[in-house]
């Protein structure tokens, strides 16, 4: 084994991508068996996997991929037999599991190959799939410029342009063209057409078309071949001169194949045959360092970077931001204004880099979410329920770290939905629901937050049972229990241990562990809520920040202590004017134009136990209008506002139950720690504690 550690990592990442690709295509094939494209994509994926695994000396794995490849090659142009399709798809799924487990071993440094017997059994099972050999139906084979010379040099070849007009009554054009092309290809090769070959092969033609053809037959013989075919109204066979052929190949065909490649990202037939040699030449390092997405001009448009490298880069950059802030502070303190100004000028490139790094950290949720299709399929089969998954908004981008952390929670929710939410097909039938249950995962990004909804159309939560159980278990008295709102009941469901209480499974229709999910989301700086209706279904709503590295924050002072508020939460900053405070009921509101916004006095809210601190020079000088969105806003009253700066957010590693209103912490230039306030948590918990009827402002 002479593969370096770095190459190995790249091999694994490349292979994992391919395996994922295979899985995606298998799903596509399963859903739309008549579509030939997934088969072609699978063919390419296995082909590349074959080369890749061979480079890693996993020879039998490579052979294994080869069997798939050659089988797919045969089926590429035709269709897989209906009776055998399910078996074939199952075989593909099994092969995926096998490939994954091999990659897992490779990660641990275990390079054990598949054993020979297994390989043979796979080979045999493919022989079962083989169907009556069918001629390849690639009817038009465009010639590439490198091949044309030999064909032209062969003086026995004649080149023709054949114009054909079909009878207007011709209906089955695809079959008609097939018969025409088959007849011509028997004596030569159709090498291009107008309209384009892909269009023509689909039979997508109005009434007439031109084909370009070479053959050793004479013009009158060609005409004779066409004479034997029905439904041809008119045909004109004309000879082509050599330079006409050259032009056609070098301009029209080249342009067409470029367009074709872009469209289906596949190479031309010529390139496929050359792929084997090419793959052998490509070294592992070369294949894997760069995911070459060639566009027309052959430009490399995307580069694959190892995630560890990216993490390091971000951490170093974060440190750099802190250091720079420290230096600026020191320089200012020392009165070195010139130098500190120079440092300030670095802000712009710093911001630029920061934005780039943000982007680097982002991945589409699709990269993880698409795996859920398999999960839904497998879990559904396990419990014998029919379930389909709908993914929406999969192109939303999110911090990959956050995505990783979310993954477990979403898997949990999906499992729960299938185990406890979705009913069996029989039950659903009785309820007049579609026999197939649906889980929908919708993702949306708004104002720095990612909203994910995991929705099922199952039996929903029976809140009355939750209420009964809450009283039974003495969580609430009978009287209290009666008044519990749905929101309260949702909170109870999320109480640690509640859902795991004996029998709670049937009551709530939910399994254990929702509390764990809620905790995890909170830890990520997000929120988690439930919305459910009996017999209709349940929606779990997750909200998480889309990133959590560097945020722009407003530093503030409350009773002498430093805090930060993310500037994206700040709507407006005012000088506090007591005259604008109005009392409605027990609550105080701040009047802005004609709106009344609930007031939160941060010194009280942050509960400084310390009497002394509570008293200490709280000046109520500033009113900051904070919002989470248009509906949720409040006025924070505080002492002092300081500068705005970019801070590196360190999320709390442990869950401090008392600090749920803190987003995280950051280290200041003087080395002290500043807490960053979680505006939404503060507003909502304040509203709940003070029994505000609505979270919204009074208008």
């Amino acid at each position: 084994m002479s593969i370096s550690k770095d190459d190995l990592k790249l091999f694994i990442s490349e292979a994992e991508d391919l395996v994922q690709k295979v899985e995606d295509e298998v799903f596509k094939l399963e859903n739309d068996p008549n579509n030939i494209k997934p088969v072609q994509e699978l063919y390419f994926a296995f082909h590349t996997l074959k080369g890749l695994t061979a480079m890693a000396n996993l020879n039998n794995v490579s052979k294994f991929c080869h069997h798939f490849e050659s089988f797919l090659d045969k089926t590429k142009e035709t269709k897989i037999d209906v009776d055998k399709r399910d078996d074939f798809i199952k075989l593909l799924f099994d092969s995926l599991d096998l490939l994954r487990s091999i990659l897992k071993n490779v990660k641990k440094g275990d390079f054990s190959d598949i054993d020979e017997n297994f390989l043979n059994s796979i080979k045999e099972s493919f022989e079962d799939f083989e169907m009556a050999s069918e001629a390849s139906l690639s009817l038009i084979n465009p010639i590439t410029p490198d091949k044309i010379k030999n064909i032209l040099d062969d003086k026995k070849n004649f080149f023709y342009k054949i114009y054909i007009r079909l009878q207007p009554t011709c209906v089955f054009k695809k079959v008609r063209l097939f018969i025409i092309f088959r007849a011509l290809n028997e004596f030569g090769q159709i090498f291009f057409s107008k309209p384009d070959p892909d269009i023509l092969e689909e039979g997508d033609v109005k009434i007439d078309f031109e084909i370009f053809y070479f053959s050793q037959k004479k013009e009158n013989e060609i005409t004779k071949v066409l004479d034997e075919i029905l439904e041809i109204e008119n045909k004109v066979v004309t000879s082509l001169k050599n330079d006409e052929v050259k032009n056609l190949v070098e301009i029209d065909i080249v342009n067409w194949s470029k367009r074709e490649k872009k469209k289906v990202k596949k190479t031309t037939a010529e390139q496929i045959s050359g792929r084997d040699q090419k793959l052998k030449r490509e070294t592992l390092a070369k294949i894997s360092t760069i995911e070459e997405t060639f566009e027309d001009e052959g430009k490399i448009t995307s580069v694959k970077v190892n995630i560890d490298v990216l993490e390091k880069l971000m951490n170093y950059f974060s440190e750099l931001v802190v250091n720079k802030n420290q230096i600026t502070q020191v320089l200012k303190n020392k009165g070195e204004l010139d130098l500190s100004r120079m440092f300030d000028e670095m802000d712009k490139p710093f911001l630029e880099i920061q934005e780039i790094i943000f982007d680097l950290k982002l991945v589409r949720v699709e990269s993880t979410f698409r795996r859920y299709r398999r999960l839904v399929r497998d879990v559904g089969q396990e419990v014998g329920k029919k379930v389909q998954l709908i993914l929406e908004g999969t192109n939303v981008e999110i911090d990959r770290k956050i995505l990783e952390e979310l993954n477990g929670s979403i898997i949990h929710l999906i499992r729960n939905a299938i185990y406890h939410g979705i009913e069996t097909a029989n039950e659903r039938k009785k309820q007049k629901k579609d026999e197939t249950g649906t889980i929908r995962i919708a993702t949306l990004r708004r104002a720095g937050m990612i909203f994910i909804e995991v929705e099922d159309d199952g039996r929903g939560i029976d809140y009355e049972n939750v209420r009964r159980k809450a009283i039974e278990k003495n969580i609430y008295s009978k009287e209290e229990g009666r008044d519990l709102t749905t929101e309260d009941l949702n909170r109870i469901i999320l109480m640690p241990g509640f859902s795991s209480l004996e029998g709670a499974d049937q009551i709530s229709g939910r399994g254990m562990g929702l509390a764990i999910v809620a905790d995890k989301i909170k830890e990520l700086g997000g929120s988690f809520s439930i919305q459910s209706e009996k017999d209709i279904g349940t929606i779990f709503k997750l909200m998480v920040p889309f990133t959590r590295a560097i945020i722009n924050a407003q530093l503030i002072r409350v009773s002498g202590d430093l805090f930060a508020i993310p500037t994206e939460n700040i709507k407006q900053i005012y000088l506090y004017d007591k005259a604008l405070v109005e009392n409605v009921g027990n609550a105080e509101y701040y009047k802005i134009n004609s709106d009344l916004i609930p007031i939160i006095y941060l010194n009280q809210y942050l509960k400084f136990d310390d009497e002394e601190k509570l008293q200490k020079e709280y000046k109520s000088k500033i009113a900051v209008w904070v919002k989470k969105d248009e509906n949720i806003s409040a006025i924070f009253v505080l002492d002092e506002i300081l500068q705005q700066m970019n801070v590196v957010v360190k999320p709390f590693k442990f869950s401090y139950s008392d600090l749920y209103n803190i987003l995280g912490s950051t280290i200041m230039s003087d080395g002290s720690i500043c807490l960053i306030l979680d505006v939404l948590s503060i507003i909502t918990s304040y509203m709940i504690e003070n029994k505000f009827s609505k979270l919204t402002t009074i208008q």
């Binding site: 009556a132 001629a135 139906l137 209906v171 695809k174 097939f178 018969i179 088959r182 029905l230």
Partner: protein
């Protein structure tokens, strides 16, 4: 060039269609219907026995369908001339038949001229 009549086998489960085909073809005087089969199984038996110059083949039939029949006949004689006579809306099936080796196809309902065109182009029997 002989003036011998070309021999034709009709495979179709509908007596009505067979009769129309027979009437049109017989009138030309150039061809002769040597056999009629109501399904693929009979069709194959008659093909072996009669060795016709051309077979017209329905696709959807009881016992043995047209596709399978085409395959089996071509196994016996790869040069057999089979013309599919299909109903409208069966394009996929007709394509399948063509891929299996059917020479050409026409659709029901067909006109006299279409049948004559088949004879002219495929059997080289020009009908004046």
């Amino acid at each position: 060039m002989t003036n011998e009549k070309k021999r034709i086998l009709i495979v179709d489960d509908a007596q009505f269609t067979r009769n129309i085909l027979k009437n049109i073809m017989n009138k030309t005087g150039y061809v002769e219907i040597v056999g009629e089969a109501a399904n693929g199984k009979e069709g194959i038996e008659l093909f072996k026995k009669l060795k016709p110059d051309m077979i017209t083949m329905d696709l959807v039939m009881p016992e043995k369908g047209g596709i399978e029949t085409i395959e089996e006949i071509l196994k016996i004689d790869p040069k057999a001339l089979i013309v599919v006579v299909s109903a409208l809306g069966q394009e996929a099936l007709v394509l399948e038949a063509a891929k299996k080796g059917a020479k050409d196809f026409i659709q029901k309902p067909f006109k006299t001229e279409q049948i004559l065109e088949v004879l002219e182009r495929i059997l080289k029997k020009k009908v004046e």
